[in-house]
Symmetry: C2
Subunit: 318 residues, 2 copies
């Protein structure tokens, strides 16, 4: 298997690993839960285990891979191979030399990138963003992340560009999980939606969201639970998702007014789960806010689905 | 005078022309009112007259200039040398071949650029933006315009990037002069502020804004009138400017969260008139909304003042 590469999408709840061939076709994959206790070394061990399993599925030794790419949250220093301040990961407030540690365990070079940016790059190279020179990737999941490609290249700013979830859509508005007020994520992020639903439920608003959660043996309102509640016409779920779509419309249109990019790709757990009809709703919600309204950007559903982050990470190992 | 260049800032109320030397030092300048009737040909004639007067001040014939650059509102086609849909200029709904017409009258080549972008480029090349590779120019005047420089180069998107004034800071918020709701410009643009002040005044709110306007023989609330009212502690003026600063804080911080640029330069009629203390207030108002709050961007007052647009336009003629 010459030129096979590995990719790992390191998330707050799961570690997704893939092994791909030279054309980025997936040869093997594995998904493990992210450790919830311990520290960075435990997370790195879990990442190595997931990658080994994906490699086994592909029939290749990890040490025979051209390399492994990692899409990580937190602040990435790609040159130093380190990740700092990944607050959703256990014991990861400081800086950890992830590339070196993981590379040693796997016997192959490891490259690091920002999780959202590698998912955006994957959509541009292989997915819904093909053919566009400028693009905004919007990852609608637990939070709302963004990746920017301008003139065919990732735009990273000083390392933290793309924080579309923390653009203000309502000054003096709702409290965001980040602690600030009125951010897009405060209205649209899965975590914020769940907190809001719990509040409303506690206040006596009727909803089947939590019954569905228990019935499906979940401890939180996953994308699938939200989708089921909408399908059933649950009133509270519909109201909260309507508000999320309106906030996404305003926030994404604001970003387009600033960047004037050719396309927007919508991915993330909720984005992928809700699919095309919701992408169309977001495009409609953007319309009233687009300054150059006679030529809106293309708005597309992410084509690589759940594996986009890991496939994008594998691009780092080319 | 070898290598002298001309620059014209074409605004809705005034035409500012300069002639500069090879180092962009101003050798001559003239300011004429923009014609309020007629059509593009009349505007072009007024531009030629202003440039001739600036050239006379510099002791150089227009035909001896290396070239003349124009910063224009509307949609610019730099290659075709045309300007379309400049709605604040008389009879300019369609497309007019400005570069060719003006070049013929002046006997020197004319290059076109976007008014806000050339002012931003001037600050980067010669003003408060020197030394920064990524920067957002915010021009706070009748409207709120924005210019973007990334990796040392202007970012124009599909030709209309930088519309920071039409980023949404309050969903379902105040009506903007553009017709949309909740835009930054609806809270901070001079035109919107004046409309709001007139409403409040008509409703019986006390203010000296309109007395000051009459005393200074103005027909509108200019930047100078606003500044005087603030100096006098006028309550309505203070409230409206407080709200404008809060909206600018949210909007500019949102743009920084997306772009993660190194610096923000604040210019425009109100920005330049209010000066450093107001720039500091805007920087403070951004703070609560900055996602990476431990390293805010530098926030600087535009250094080229009223002539920045024309000096920036002259850069097009290098």
């Amino acid at each position: 298997m010459p030129r096979a590469r590995g990719g790992i999408d390191l998330g707050g709840t799961k570690i997704q690993a893939v092994v791909v061939d030279a054309d980025s076709a997936v040869l093997g994959q594995a998904r493990h839960p992210t450790p919830t206790s311990g520290g960075p070394a435990d997370v790195a061990a879990a990442m190595a285990a997931a990658l080994r399993e994906a490699a086994q599925g592909a029939g290749v030794e990890p040490a025979a891979l051209t390399g492994v790419g990692v899409g990580s949250p937190g602040a990435i220093d790609a040159d130093a191979g380190s990740v700092s301040g990944a607050r959703n990961l256990p014991g990861w407030e400081g800086t950890y030399p992830l590339a070196g540690q993981l590379g040693e365990q796997l016997g192959t070079p490891v490259s690091l990138g920002n999780d959202v940016q590698v998912a955006t790059d994957a959509e541009v190279a292989l997915g819904a963003g093909r053919g566009y020179r400028s693009l905004l990737g919007v990852f609608w999941g637990t939070g709302v992340g963004g990746g920017i490609v301008l003139d065919g290249r990732p735009w990273l700013g000083r390392g933290a560009a793309g924080e579309i979830g923390h653009m203000v859509v309502k000054r003096d508005g709702r409290r965001c999980p980040c602690g600030r007020r009125g951010c897009l994520e405060a209205y649209a992020g899965r975590a914020a939606l769940e907190a809001r639903a719990r509040e409303k439920h506690a206040e006596g608003h009727k909803t089947d969201l939590f019954k569905l959660m228990e019935r499906h043996d979940r401890t939180r309102l996953t994308s699938g639970i939200w989708a089921r509640a909408l399908e059933q016409g649950d009133k509270l779920a519909s109201e909260l998702i309507d508000e999320a779509v309106a906030a996404l419309g305003a926030g994404v249109a604001s970003a387009v007014n600033l960047l004037d990019c050719e396309a927007v790709v919508i991915g993330g757990g909720l984005g992928v789960r809700f699919g095309e009809p919701m992408v169309e709703r977001i495009a409609q919600a953007m319309r009233p806010h687009l300054f150059v309204d006679e030529r809106p950007p293309a708005v597309r559903l992410a084509a690589l689905g759940d594996l986009g982050g890991a496939i994008g990470a594998a691009l780092l190992a080319r």
